[in-house]
Every structure is written in structure tokens, then in C-alpha cells.
């Protein structure tokens, strides 16, 4: 049954158009219930009680009508991997044993993890850059839950969380950014150092400790206490704006200084995607990154940006495995991945160099 929601595009609102540089915006709130130990210290029976209370509270929230709620236990290995690849659950939650759950809204923009590191991890994820609507949505769900549940909260320390790094607002706001210009011009290390100074973290595609495949980075606030949500988001936003600016400058400079080399790279990427028969995911990520870049330059029709974004997720191992409909060896996974990409990019035009 869960596969249905996994394979569907998500009903409801039409996805907004993909934009250059910024892939998606996410806000996550960490919350805990009073009078229960945090999940790391809880007995299975306590986790179960928390799970039931949370699901009960969530069922009363208007925007979460028709949500799907499942226990992590009931999901297959593959289901879990797919949810991780879609950034709906954390790799940590996919590893937990008994008493954890997931509540997923029908349009998949809101996903609540129950009994991950904290009792509740409420997150809203939307394409493009849009902190105000994402904050509104996550704030509404949070208040809805709080009307039915007492949160562990302290007047000085704010929302109490298992890890003190999340204290206060319990909020992690992040944006997924595509920064090939900064990577190719070898400026990324400098940028990471500079934003770290501002209390902002840069991570790879799948969060903590993951690689920056396809030049995709997660930029998020590091600090959660001592500032309001609005102030944190404002600071993050101004950093993002400056990052977008720097990325665009880097791209322009590459196009000026190394035009033929860059065009050759992007053109070859399309050639490989159209003709490949074996493809590993890391190579695919880099090729898709070049397709997105070419689209941003106006050298490919706009729809290829959305296609690249969709493929960033669908070429991940779990998704390829799922599309096969049966268990397959890693080697045939590379073959299947190549088939999918060849199919999707079969009609890609040559780069429009007059743009």
C-alpha cells in the first residue's frame, strides 16, 4: 500500500516550476512530549505510547486529512530507502527498530517523523526557494499538534530536545542548492569556510557526512537558540542570496574564460545520457548537474531543469531497484539506470549556443 504513495507524483497542487540554483526549501521542527523520556532513552512501550498520542494529535489537523501513517517496522528495507532518497525521512529513522512512525501528507510536502532522535520531527519541504510559505505550513502543523499535546518546553531554553544543538526553536531551515559554478571554479571550500563563520552549515545531498554529488549542497542554520525563527530565516536568506549571486558570477566567469571547455562538457553530458548502457549513480549525478546548468544558461529548453531534478532522485539505488519491480544485482542496476536515462533524454536537442 505504501508503494502507491511512493510511485505517485503526489496528488493535489501542481509542482511549481523549477528555478535556477535553488532546488528546494525545507523547515524542520524538533519537538518532544512532556513526561516521556526522549526516544533514545525510552522503552518500547513508552515509544508506542508517544507514537499513539502523536498520531492521534495529527489526525485532528485539517491539512493532514487523508495522510498516510505507518510504523517504520511495517516498511520493507526498500520502502525505507526510497523515502530516504526522496528526503522525506532521515537515514537515522530508516535504521530504527520498534515504535517509530511516519505521517505523510497526501501531497508529500509535509512529513512527520515520530520517535527519531526526538519524539517529533515535523518537516515541510517545497520545491524552489520559499521560506515564508514553508514556515507558515510547518508552524500551523506544530500549533495544531500542540493544541492536543503538551510539549517539553522551558521558558529560558525553549523547546527541549535530545541534542542540545537543537534547543530553543528546534528549527533547522535548509535549502538545497545547485552550485556547479563554485565547484568548477574551485571556490567551494572558500565559500563553505565563509558561511560557517556565519553559523550556517553546508552539507552534501543526503545530510550529515554525505558527498556533494552533482554539485548539490544543503545549506542550513547551525544555531537554534538565542534568536527567533524569523531572525534565523532572515540570516539564512541573506546568505543564500549572496550564494546565488556568487554562483552566478562564477558561472559567467567560466563561460567567459573557458567557454569552449564548458560547452564541450555540457554537450558531452547530453551525449552520454542519450547513449549510455551502464551508469553509476555518482556519474549520473554529475551529468544531470551539467544538464541543469545548460538549462540555466538557456542552452536547453526550460523543461530539462525539472527533468534533471526528477532524475536526481529517480537514479538513486532504491528508486532504480523499485522501478525494476524485483530484486536485482548492483551490476544490473547500473544497466537499468542507463536504460531509464537513455529513455528520458532520447529527444534532447543539441545545445542552443546562440542564447
Amino acid at each position: 500500500m505504501f508503494h502507491n504513495i511512493l510511485s505517485h507524483e503526489g496528488k493535489g497542487k501542481k509542482a511549481p516550476k523549477a528555478i535556477p540554483v535553488t532546488l528546494s526549501t525545507r523547515i524542520r521542527l524538533a519537538r518532544n512530549l512532556r513526561q516521556f523520556p526522549f526516544p533514545g532513552r525510552a522503552e518500547v512501550s513508552q515509544k508506542r505510547a508517544v507514537l499513539n498520542q502523536c498520531i492521534e494529535a495529527l489526525s485532528g489537523i485539517k491539512n493532514l486529512n487523508d495522510s498516510i501513517s505507518v510504523e517504520v517496522d511495517d516498511l520493507s528495507e526498500l520502502d525505507r530507502q526510497i523515502l530516504v532518497e526522496q528526503h522525506l525521512i532521515s537515514p537515522e529513522l530508516s535504521q530504527v527498530e520498534e515504535g517509530s512512525g511516519i505521517v505523510l501528507s497526501p501531497d508529500r510536502s509535509c512529513c512527520i517523523m515520530i520517535n527519531e532522535e526526538d519524539h517529533l520531527r515535523i518537516q515541510v519541504l517545497r520545491p524552489g526557494l520559499d521560506f515564508s510559505s514553508v514556515w507558515k505550513a510547518v508552524d500551523a502543523v506544530d500549533s495544531g499538534i500542540e493544541s492536543a499535546i503538551n510539549y517539553a518546553y522551558d521558558g529560558d531554553l525553549g523547546f527541549l530536545t535530545a541534542c542540545p544543538t537543537n534547543l530553543g526553536t528546534g528549527m533547522r531551515a535548509s535549502v538545497m542548492m545547485h552550485l556547479p559554478g563554485l565547484v568548477m571554479s574551485k571556490n567551494m571550500d572558500k565559500v563553505i569556510n565563509a558561511v560557517n563563520q556565519l553559523g550556517i552549515a553546508v552539507r552534501g545531498l543526503f545530510g550529515e557526512g554525505s558527498d556533494a554529488n552533482g554539485s548539490i549542497f544543503q545549506i542550513s542554520n547551525q544555531q537554534t537558540l538565542g534568536e527567533s525563527e524569523g531572525a534565523i530565516i532572515d540570516r539564512l536568506n541573506s546568505t543564500l542570496k549572496s550564494l546565488v549571486h556568487q554562483e552566478n558570477n562564477a558561472r559567467e566567469k567560466l563561460l567567459q574564460d573557458d567557454r569552449t571547455k564548458l560547452i564541450d562538457k555540457m554537450s558531452r553530458a547530453i551525449g552520454i545520457l542519450k547513449t549510455c548502457h551502464l551508469m553509476q549513480s555518482s556519474e549520473a549525478m554529475d551529468l544531470l548537474s551539467l544538464v541543469r546548468l545548460a538549462t540555466d544558461f538557456g542552452m536547453l529548453p526550460d523543461k530539462f531543469r525539472g527533468l534533471a531534478d526528477k532524475m536526481f532522485i529517480e537514479i538513486q539505488p532504491g528508486h532504480v531497484q523499485f522501478s525494476a519491480g524485483k530484486s536485482i544485482e548492483p551490476s544490473s542496476r547500473d544497466e537499468l539506470r542507463a536504460d531509464v536515462l537513455r529513455n528520458q533524454f532520447a529527444r534532447t536537442p543539441s545545445l542552443d549556443l546562440d542564447s
Binding site: Y151, L167, G168
Partner: protein, 162 residues
Amino acid sequence: MKCHHCDKQATVHLTQILNGQMHKMDLCETCAQAKGVTNPENLSISSLMDKVELEVDTGEATMVCESCGTTHQDFKKGGRLGCEACYHVFRPVLDPLLDGMHAGTKHLGKVPAGSASRIKFEKSVVNLRGELNEAVEKEDFEKAAKLRDQLRDLESKTNAKA
């Protein structure tokens, strides 16, 4: 003699022998209370001192959250606390950490509606109790009786809610 934590006159003097070494600490009354120095039998001086000052075993056995069993050692190792009560127990070691970790040490964000009214209630109970004690000390029994009634009223209201 000055207090170990602030510059006030120290009135509480602690001596403890840890791993064969004697440690002394002097605290003023306010700091002593803030650090929970009420029962000398359960007290470890190491938990009151900053890490740098104490080279010997930091007395991991001494700081335990009675509510969930998390020890100071657990916290140091995993960086995670076990429950709401841990934030009271480990506050002395937590506060200096928070300073470096965050933009500030005071929550300035969203206040949950339900918890806000609970906090307000708890504060008014504490205030009333304080006033009541004061009235009793001053032998103002008329005022004390009034305060006692108010306190009962407030407490019965929440009991009914719960």
C-alpha cells in the same frame, strides 16, 4: 572570602576528598541554592567545579538524572540528553556549552500556547508560596490565610483540568 561563582561573600564552605585529593569550594547563599547545595550527603563538589579546575576524575557517578538514568558520562560520550529532567540535572555543565554552541542562551522564538499558560501558572504558584512564607514569617496570619486560600483555589483548578 568570596564566592567561587560570583563576587558575593561566601557563606557556604564545602570540602570533599576525591581520589585522595582534597577539594574546597566556597559559595554564597544564592549560588549554593542555584547549584542545589541543599543536602550535603548527595553532593559532589566536582559537579560544581569547571572542568579545567578539576584535573581528577570528574565524578561521573555523581551526576545522574534520576528520572531517566542518563549519566554525565553518557552525555559526554553521546552528546544527547535523555529527558526533560536532564536539563535541570545537567544544567551546570550544559550552560557553558550552550554559550559556544548558539547565538544566545535565551529562547527568543515561538512560545507554545498551552505551555505558556502552564508556565504562567507554575510561576504564580511559586510566587504565592513565597508570599505565603513571608507572611507567616512576619506573623501576618490574616494575609497568610488569604494567600493560602488563593493557592488552594489555583491548585484545585489545575487538578480539575488534569
